[in-house]
Structures are given as structure tokens and as C-alpha cells.
Amino acid sequence: MKELQDYSGPYMPDGKFADFSKDALVRLLQNYQKIFVGLMGIWNGVNKQRMSLEETCKLDGDVYEMQVRQFELPLVTEAMNIHGDDVVTMLKYFQMCPDGARKGLYEYDEDIKSNNHAILTFTKCPTLFYCERHGDEKDIECLCGPGGVEHRAFAAICKYFNPDMKCRALKLPPRKSKNDICCIWEFKVEP
């Protein structure tokens, strides 16, 4: 059967993902990423109308931590058969999760010291850029600061792969200029 490059043709009652080309499926994955990130952002915005920024931020962290541990990590690692307890295994998950690191979304340069030690320098972060455009410094602090949403998420992800894996922020926003990097994180297994 010929692979469809898009869905501009007739409706297929029994259509399956397999009917589409790889490029079409990739575009659809990118679409699902946007929906996921969009939903997180909309919940944040809606909550802000009902509670303080601190409460909203705490809630973001709580929800992200719970859902990543209970669903995202098991779903993604199972789908892609990602198994292991070192830092580079976790980097594979970073590449595959819906709000993960890849070109056009969250981009980083990596310095892999060993399988159990890596330093990631994030150079592109649409969430930070959005906050810089629309929010104030408090938003950025809640999201990126010590104990913020990102920190809690990374800590939960590390723990899932290996209870001895730790994350440490080496540099965090706010940035001094738009040409500056976004943040730097160190991931290390420390028995």
C-alpha cells in the first residue's frame, strides 16, 4: 500500500498510523508535543487566575513530578525499550519524551564526561523565551530557579533511572542578555 504523505485525501474509517509515511508521523509527533506543552501552559495560565504565583508554581511542580514519574517515564521508556541506570540512558529518554530535548524544541550542548556524568548546556528553551516575553522575573524564578519546576522534574527523572543519580544546576536564569545560554545542568551518579 502506498504511504500517505499527509491526510489531504478522503477520510479513512479504518485509517492507521501505519498508513502514513515516516515524515507524516514525525510531523504528528511534533504536533503531539505542542499539545502536551500547550496543555501544561494553559493549565498554568488558568490556575494563575485563581491562586498566587507561588501556589501556581508549586502546583506545576507537583503535577509535573507526579505525571512524569507515574506515566511519562514508564510510557516512553516502554515504547522505545529504553533500559539502564546511567546518565546516558537518561539522555536517551530526554530525546524521546514529549517535552524533551531536540532540535526546534529544547536544545542543548552536551559534555559527556562518562556514562555516569554529563553536563548539559541548554541553548534554546521555548518556555524560558515565552516567560521572558510575557512574564516577569518571578515566573522565571518559579520555573527555573532552585527548587523550581525544572529542578523538581530533573530530580524525579534522575531518581527513576537510579536513586543515586543527582542533578545540580551550574547556571540558571534569569539571563543577562538574549544571546546568553539558558541554563547549565550537571547529571551524575554519586553512590
Binding site: 499527509d6 491526510y7 489531504s8 478522503p10 477520510y11 474509517p13 485509517g15 492507521k16 498510523f17 501505519a18 502514513f20 515516516k22 507524516a24 508521523l25 514525525v26 510531523r27 504528528l28 509527533l29 511534533q30 504536533n31 503531539y32 508535543q33 505542542k34 499539545i35 502536551f36 500547550g38 496543555l39 494553559i42 493549565w43 488558568v46 490556575n47 485563581r50 491562586m51 501556589e55 502546583l59 507537583d62 503535577v63 507526579m66 505525571q67 506515566f71 511519562e72 510510557l75 516512553v76 516502554e78 515504547a79 522505545m80 525499550n81 529504553i82 533500559h83 546516558v88 540512558t89 539522555l91 536517551k92 530525546q95 524521546m96 514529549p98 531536540r102 532540535k103 552536551e110 559527556i112
Partner: protein
């Protein structure tokens, strides 16, 4: 181009989605859509703990109303679905991240190009709530939230689509038997301009 069936091998710093087989990409699509579907429950419960049920539900409805148009537009763009008819609605709903195939099952029974009956035959959310005997939540989600979000999704496809619920849970005896395997059923029409 590589065609990896999974990512159990060595870490590749330059790996792209394109390096995986279609089967692997389909599994990832299913994983993402399950996560999207489950995300709302986490948010609802977290907000409920702080602000109470009424506020949490109001937030939930607002979120699904707000994501409707972006989701439809992103899916249009991803798969080049440009029409604004009911066939386009069917395509966009079935390929969308929050109602993906393999998570939910549904049929579209086209009576005419401007009239279709949309029947959901598998809904993990409903099954979960029935198993946990959450009748009030079923009424909230199936009768109020779904109606509001369906209207938002339909309006994003075509503002002239009129959507009417034909059959909505709670199902009798908390069981699909009396319902012929139906979870919910909706009628969509595009009324001719007068």
C-alpha cells in the same frame, strides 16, 4: 536513513525521530497521546486539593475549551487537512493528540456530507471512572466537559457545525452491555445557510 525498531542500543547524540521505524514512531505517538489524556486528571486532582471541586472543574473545562482551536490547527498543519467539512472533523479528531487511535475507539456514520453520527466505543477514562464508581465525575466529564470541549473542537473546524449529544453516560448498571458497547454518541450537522 536508519530504521531503528527501538532505542535500546547505544546513545546517539544526533538521533532524530526520522531514525526510527514507523512502528516505533506509532508506539511513541500512542505513548504521547496516553500521557496527554491522563494529564488532565493530575491537574484536576491537584487543583481540587487546593481550591475545591467546583474551581477545579471550572479550570478543567476552560483548559479543554482553550486547547481546542490550537490542537485542531496544529493537526491541520501537520497532516495538511484543509477542508472545513465533517469529513475533516472526523480526520482531525481521530488524528489529534487528545483523542488518538489506539487509546479511544470511535466510528463516524455519515448520513450525508453534512450530517454524521459520532459514536465512541472505547473510552479508558469512562471505564476507569465506572470501575471506581465515580458517578458524579462521570456526569461532570461526559455531560458537561465533553460537550464544552466538543463544541470548541467543532467550532475550530467550522463555526457552523452544530453538535448535539445523543447518548451520554452514566451508563445503566455501570456497564456497556445495556448500551450496545457505546460510551457516548453525538450528532453533528452543518445546517444549510438560510
Amino acid at each position: 536513513m536508519k530504521d531503528l525498531e527501538e532505542y535500546s542500543g547505544k546513545y546517539d547524540p544526533n538521533i532524530k525521530y526520522q531514525d526510527f521505524s514507523k512502528d516505533a514512531l506509532a508506539r511513541l505517538l500512542n505513548a504521547y497521546s496516553k500521557e496527554i489524556a491522563l494529564l488532565s486528571a493530575f491537574w484536576y486532582n491537584a487543583v481540587k486539593e487546593r481550591c475545591g471541586e467546583e474551581q477545579a472543574f471550572a479550570c478543567e473545562v476552560k483548559v479543554w475549551e482553550d486547547i481546542g482551536a490550537p490542537e485542531i490547527n496544529w493537526t491541520r498543519e501537520a497532516l495538511n487537512i484543509q477542508e472545513t467539512d465533517l469529513h475533516a472533523f472526523a480526520k482531525l479528531i481521530e488524528m489529534g493528540g487528545s483523542f488518538a487511535r489506539d487509546v479511544y475507539d470511535s466510528t463516524f456514520d455519515f448520513k450525508s456530507p453534512d450530517h454524521v453520527v459520532f459514536t465512541v466505543t472505547k473510552c479508558p477514562s469512562l471505564t476507569y471512572l465506572e470501575r471506581h464508581n465515580e458517578r458524579k465525575r462521570v456526569v461532570q466529564i461526559c455531560q458537561i466537559l465533553e460537550h464544552a470541549s466538543m463544541k470548541a473542537y467543532a467550532a475550530a473546524v467550522n463555526p457552523h457545525i452544530i453538535i448535539t449529544p445523543l447518548k451520554l453516560p452514566p451508563r445503566e448498571d455501570w456497564d456497556e452491555k445495556g448500551w450496545g458497547g457505546i460510551c457516548c454518541q453525538w450528532e453533528l450537522k452543518i445546517e444549510p445557510k438560510t
